[in-house]
Amino acid sequence: MSDRLTSDVVAKVARLARLDLTPAELEQATAQLGDMLDHFADIDALDLADVAPMTQPYPLVNVMRPDVVRPCLDRDEVLGAAPAPQDGRFRVPPVLAGEG
């Protein structure tokens, strides 16, 4: 089990990801993620200082589209598929101060 990963960190990560974990789930997740991180420790020894990060498999640059309007989706169809449409909008529970 990893000495790097504590259940506090996993709990914080779960909050960031908006996932609720029961105490048992938190314990299991901490153990499983810890095992994975131990396994991933194979890269710790690598000296990668001179290696540039690679984020895109195929190097492309300057991909742009012209500023031309295309048809929109139908609002009724979109709102018809929404969990809580109201007055042409998406209704959500109150946003508490401090969110976002």
Partner: protein
């Protein structure tokens, strides 16, 4: 230079982050319309809604506008990338905002203010706007609402966020910065920059310190939506921080909200439980590296900016560049007109005064620069008085008639000869001996009574300049 604001020996240190909506036809990453005021949720497509499987494609015109802004602010345009800023909020459909993080498009520029001060620009980067939440029930405020309603028309609208360096030291300077920035944005056509419609939004980072000390803890103030509020909000906030420190408390790093109604800032959230935005490079987009040719082409297409136009008009007219008439005429875009009148032979200063005081947009459209020049020439040549010239100009603006001499003749405006005027001056001196004595003793304002008498006698037809000359001759 603006005066440095101080309060009990403290100074304010302010940096502004200004979000500007770009005047494109479509959104930053999709082809739905970028339009204000439509029915809610009508300008939506899979990308705007953050539907599963939707992918962003960068709007070329938005890039061009962003470069215009960068170049107008003396920035370096550089190769850049887009990143995801991850956070949950109901009007942020993908739960991440595509923005530019460590490699923005524009860096290291500056903005010169009319008073001669310079505010550094750290960066001006591209990002997408969020949708709009209407907080309903419970008074409509975010922290009291029963529920919120989300409209995504604005989601994905292209923004440029202009981040100033913390160079601002007074409310006046902050206001001047915002006004000047706004003028530039409008001049280059990148944005309509309407603060009241939200197409230009200012956040202020405010801290206080004793002059010479290192930077204090800052608070970020959101929702400042007029030029006037910018000044009020930062002044309130600076005083609040000073009060706290002097009471022995320490300023906490916070995001605060400016309430226009009560004229205060309120805590939105502490930065201690700061969001961990987990920035990473947006894998659905590729890097952007505008070619040198493109950058130069955009630079060459920029119009003359307000600062340069004020300087040019100041030089031609002899008015100071930060004076009211120069500012007003340039802001209205009538400076070219004044210059044309001057080129057609008008006294530039006189032409400027007429354009500032006596002509609105319609008037400028109705009266040709040549006709204005002809009128100014009559005035400076003594053929009509200043008052008569104003009357003639109003007539020209109203009717579109371009011949001031004909109008003056029709109205019976004929120059009084000097001997007639001298007689009037002598009569006025004789009628107001007290005023005359005071004037001769150096009381300049006593002159008013004398001149008033003359104007009354001449029914306003006397040339004020000539009257002054004669009065001074009499004084000896």
């Amino acid at each position: 230079m603006t005066e440095i604001w101080t309060h009990d020996g403290w100074e304010m240190v302010v940096g502004l982050e200004t979000h500007v909506e770009l005047a494109t036809a479509t959104k930053l990453f999709s082809a739905s319309p970028n339009r204000f005021g439509d029915e809610p949720n009508t300008n939506i497509d899979p990308v705007t809604l953050g539907l599963p499987g939707a992918l962003p494609v960068l709007n070329e015109r938005a890039v061009e506008f962003a470069m215009r802004i960068g170049l107008a602010l003396n920035c370096t345009v550089q190769p850049c990338t887009f990143a995801r800023k991850n956070y949950f909020y109901p009007d942020m459909p993908k739960a991440y905002q595509i923005s530019q993080y460590d490699q923005p498009l524009n860096v290291d520029g500056w903005l010169d203010l009319p008073d001669g001060s310079r505010v550094g620009i750290e960066r001006a980067h591209m990002e997408e706007d969020a949708g709009k939440s209407v907080h309903a029930g419970g008074g409509g405020r975010v922290h009291e609402a029963d529920y919120s309603l989300i409209d995504l028309n604005r989601a994905g609208v292209p923004l440029v966020e202009i981040v100033s360096r913390p160079d601002i030291r007074s409310p006046e300077q902050a206001r001047a910065y915002v006004s000047e920035l706004r003028a530039i944005l409008v001049a280059i056509g990148a944005s309509d920059a309407r603060m009241e419609e939200g197409s230009m939004r200012v956040d202020a980072n405010v801290s206080v310190r004793r002059p010479g000390d290192p930077l204090g803890t800052r608070c970020e103030i959101k929702n400042v939506n007029s030029v006037r509020s910018v000044g009020r909000a930062i002044e309130y906030e600076a005083k609040r921080q000073i009060q706290m420190i002097e009471a022995g408390e320490s300023v906490r790093q916070q995001t605060r909200h400016w309430d226009e109604g009560d004229g205060r800032t309120h805590t939105l959230r502490d930065k201690e439980d700061a969001d961990d935005y987990r920035y990473f490079l947006e894998p659905d987009l590729v890097p952007l590296a505008p070619s040198a040719e493109w950058v130069e082409q955009v630079r060459a297409s920029l119009p003359m900016l307000p600062g340069a136009r004020r300087a040019r008009l100041a030089e031609v007219t002899g008015h100071p560049a930060d004076s009211e008439p120069i500012a007003v005429v340039v802001e209205r875009g009538h400076d070219e007109y004044v210059l044309a009148a001057a080129a057609a032979g008008a006294d530039p200063k006189r032409a400027l005064t007429h354009v500032q005081q006596n002509l609105d947009d319609d008037g400028v459209a109705a009266v040709s620069a040549t006709a204005l020049a002809a009128l100014v020439a009559m005035e400076t040549g003594g053929a009509v008085t200043a008052t008569q010239a104003k009357t003639v100009l109003a007539e020209m603006a109203g009717s579109g008639e371009q011949d001031p001499a004909a109008i003056a003749a029709r109205l019976g405006f004929e120059a009084m000869d000097t001997s007639e005027l001298e007689a009037m001056v002598d009569a006025a001196i004789a009628a107001q001996p007290d005023a005359w004595a005071k004037f001769c003793n150096g009381e300049q304002k006593a002159l008013g009574a004398i001149v008033g008498h003359i104007m009354k006698a001449s029914k306003g037809q006397a040339d004020g300049k000539l009257v002054n000359q004669i009065v001074n001759q009499r004084k000896g």
